[in-house]
């Protein structure tokens, strides 16, 4: 195990170590993150990284393959543009976590703030608590699972991402509608909850939301507007 104490060492030194393909299989312990920005950004290999404390903006961004656990809260932009791997935060995540992320699994054990999963492109996000407004805005693909409630305008202008919510959405965004829970959706949700280590919840309590696909094509009724 390699330890980086950010009270003494720079975030750049940590990140450069994580950028080496040879970091694969290694374990890293990060101490005293103290809300610093860009902690553990750009990891490339199947490294296991444990962060003890709160992180600032953009933690775990662009992650590939690594498994990153944050024991604390995360600032804005957690796991932004993640490609693969796993990121877990035991506390809350600030706004736009998982933004534009292409793959991997992001688990928030607390609440996530506004714009969770904005423009997500294949990532799976599981939030034990609630999420803020404009979450999954223009979400393209991937799954967003929320055990709590959501803020306003959930899934506004959503493409083909699937959203599962156990609680209540405050409101749905444009072109986002509730859809039926078929067996394949229940299976998908069940498997993701297992991956995210969620137990003791009843899958039948979830509702599914997705695109009404009304924005996909030009509507001839609007012709007179041009």
């Amino acid at each position: 195990m390699k330890t980086f104490d950010l009270a003494d060492e720079s975030v750049s030194n940590l990140n450069q170590a994580l950028h080496l393909p040879a970091s694969g299989g290694l374990e890293f312990m990060v101490l005293n993150p103290g809300g610093k920005h860009c902690v553990a950004v750009g990891a490339v290999a199947d490294t296991r990284i444990t962060i003890e404390g709160h992180v600032g903006y953009y933690c775990a961004g662009m992650n590939q393959n690594a498994e990153i656990t944050i024991h604390g809260n995360a600032g804005p932009g957690l796991a932004e543009n993640m490609m693969s791997g796993k990121v877990r935060v035991t506390g809350n995540a600030s706004q736009y976590c998982g933004a534009t992320a292409h793959g991997g699994l992001l688990v928030i054990e607390g609440d996530a703030a506004a714009r969770c999963g904005i423009s997500m492109k294949g990532v799976d996000i599981v939030v034990y608590g609630s999420i803020g407004h404009m979450s999954a805005f223009m979400a393209q693909t991937g799954r967003l699972i929320v055990l709590g409630d959501t803020g306003d305008s959930l899934g506004d202008s959503i493409y083909e991402a699937r959203i599962y919510v156990q609680g209540k959405p405050k409101s749905l965004g444009t072109d986002c509608v509730q859809k039926s829970m078929r067996d394949k959706h229940k299976n998908e949700l069940g498997a993701l909850l297992v991956q995210a280590k969620v137990s003791g919840v009843d899958i039948s309590g979830f509702k599914r939301y997705g695109s009404a696909r009304e924005l996909y094509n030009f509507k001839i009724d609007n012709l007179s507007a041009y």
Partner: protein, 299 residues
Amino acid sequence: MCGIIGLFCKDTALESKLGQHASDMLAQMTDRGPDSAGFAIYRDQVAAGKVKVTMRIQGEKTDFVDVRSKLMQQFGNDISLKPLANHAVTVLPVDTEQAISWIEKNLPECVMTSIGRSIEIYKQKGLPADVIKQYEFESMSGTHALGHTRMATESAVTAEHSHPFSTGLDLCLVHNGSLSNHNQLREKLKNDNIKFQTDNDSEVAAGYLTWRMAQGASLNEALEAAIEDLDGFYTFAIGTRNGFAVLRDPIACKPAVIAETDKWVAMSSEYRAIAQLPGCEGAKIWEPEPATIYSWGDD
């Protein structure tokens, strides 16, 4: 980018350590605003009929010897004047209007940073750590405090352009963001006798609230109206004599986090400023909703 903080004591036992905790919070926001820093502290409320004014001296003289003798000549021995670096707090036994017009006319070397019965505002160019040290923020006690670290975007880096801004009695505002209709609004408010010291956008927000409250609105009502009338990005923390409020614009891009225990309420741009407060591990922590007013103390 800027950093803002606010700390409001719900438990009076915390008041003796307000300055220490609030200055720790402010120092944590250095990365967000290394240009200048400032803070407002509410403490030692003076009796009705008296007025407390914080002033910054500028120009060649850096002490308040002449200021003191002028004040005593005018108001007698029943005044107090406590200098702290280039700021000083004076308590005068007259009504507010009298105090303001006399200071404006007779102390041209002084700029008033706050006026009221309990507010004091200190602000200066430079790193937050230096500003905290210069004005001995750590050792101050009080009921609530707000602070700001500035990375300028809209206007010049000077002490005048630093936050907090105060345009009304015991009222102050710190702002992270930028307003887009401030010039138009400033002209409108000037017509209604709201005075401005700078061309800064945040000062207009403070002036707007003063204007609304002068018309009889409560702080909450003034903030409700601000959501309609202010255009731009903002997270505001606002202090009044007995209260503290937080408001984000309807899009809420600018960060904000609030934490509350039975002993205190704290807000900041980033969680790291709050993380070190006593009992934070048991606090209720959330990011304020867009266009939603959160307030404590008076309504």
